[in-house]
Symmetry: C2
Subunit: 234 residues, 2 copies
DNA sequence: GATGATTTGTACGTATGTATA
DNA sequence: ATATACATACGTACAAATCAT
């Protein structure tokens, strides 16, 4: 569960790569809170390496948008505003809607039946309220649509954005009732695909993700902060 | 002309940043051919620095997809197949179509009139067959649409992809007749936006970029290779 | 296939700029 | 406001792997 970098993923015998992957996972899991300082020496100690590969990993993560690099002032976990999360959700919603539209016409019969199988399993997981299992199947479902576009580049873009939203997506699924509604939206999406109606599939996918977005925003406006703000008192 | 990295673009007093920017430009201009080896020491000499900042720059460019990093075997300019370029063009076409649709409804009057102004200037440049000027205005035109979506994240995504296609886009514009057709397509797009018909604007934008794609493919299938292949004889 | 040359990957040292007392 | 402490940025050194012969 690390990335959509094109090649290079093969041999991960480089320290800097291992550190980058470890940090990516840690960030996606919310292990480091937004705004938290990422001290090079501390990370070097944590991974039993010198500062050099840590620095390289941090620079790479900065390009991917996961950490913020302030020249000569160190790296912090990317601080993110609610507005930006909303922007990211809208972007995801539109790109995944696009994937749904293209995949509707391009999936092979095998891919289509695979999608249905995943959807069925997700339904079961939802009935037994197994959030973690549903989360995993949900990801599989969306990834099946990415690759169903038969456009590898687009699929990578979609994956990358989805990964960046990962930490926020999970909180949202745990809201009461959200899981059931999510399944319902998938139902409609799958029906539209089966009908071969790409535009309608896109519409349902967009609605699905915008609903998830709304759920998240409500959740946060119920008093919680997103970033552990460290800005000084005015 | 450097990038869509969120923050950090402010103070470029870091050597690694300057080198990264210089390399980005060099790559976009086709100064280094795909598949060409990027020797760390050679680049360090070229930029009057040590290998350390060069390495950091290369790692960053690898995340952005501009160079390919083979562990312990050095970095090469990202090799790209025609299929992948087609995928990238389709992805750009769809994402820019999306931008056009959103921008149609979201641009402020000022942004709209600015778009029209740029379009007018591009028309002039096209009439005088000033390809370089047209190229610059064309970029402004598309960027105006990105930011017209009022979704900063989406705009950054669009910019990043556009940059990655930069080196290939230019060759395509120099084909006979392509420039005139490009203007005609912009005309229709601008009309649709003025009418407030977002769906139609999206349609024209998609067509515009897919045409550019076709032009490029024909160009390459006329005997030219994309990557200076260095694979060994079979 | 073995050996030498070249280049990468990592560690470490030092200077410069930033934060803090 | 000045000085001290500290983290970063860059350079250099060396080990290990790749390549060329």
């Amino acid at each position: 569960m690390t990335g959509a970098q094109p090649a290079n993923d093969a041999s991960v015998d480089l320290l800097s790569d291992r550190i980058r992957n470890a940090l990516t996972d840690a960030l996606a899991n919310g292990e480091f809170k937004p705004g938290a300082a990422l001290d090079e020496q501390a990370l070097a100690d944590r991974y039993g390496a010198s500062r050099t590969p840590v620095r390289e990993a941090l620079r790479q993560l900065a390009v991917a948008g996961l950490v913020e690099l302030r020249p000569r002032r160190g790296a912090v976990v990317a601080r993110i505003t609610i507005d930006r999360i909303m922007e990211m959700f809208e972007c995801t919603a539109e790109i995944e809607a696009l994937c749904a539209r293209l995949a509707t016409h391009r999936m092979t019969p095998i891919e289509r039946s695979n999608l249905l199988r995943i959807h069925g399993q997700a339904n079961e997981a939802a009935r037994s309220a197994d959030v973690d299992r549903y989360d995993a199947l949900n990801r599989q479902f969306h990834e099946a649509l990415y690759y169903g576009t038969h456009n590898q580049f687009l699929a990578e873009q979609a994956m990358t954005i989805r990964e960046r939203l990962g930490a926020y997506r999970r909180t949202q699924l745990r809201q009461v009732g959200r899981l059931g509604r999510s399944i319902g939206e998938h139902d409609e999406l799958v029906l539209a695909i089966s009908r071969g109606d790409g535009e309608d599939a896109a519409k349902w996918m967009r609605a699905h993700l915008l609903n998830a977005s709304s759920a998240l925003i409500e959740f946060f406006e119920d008093g919680r902060q997103i970033a552990a703000s460290d800005s000084p008192a005015p």
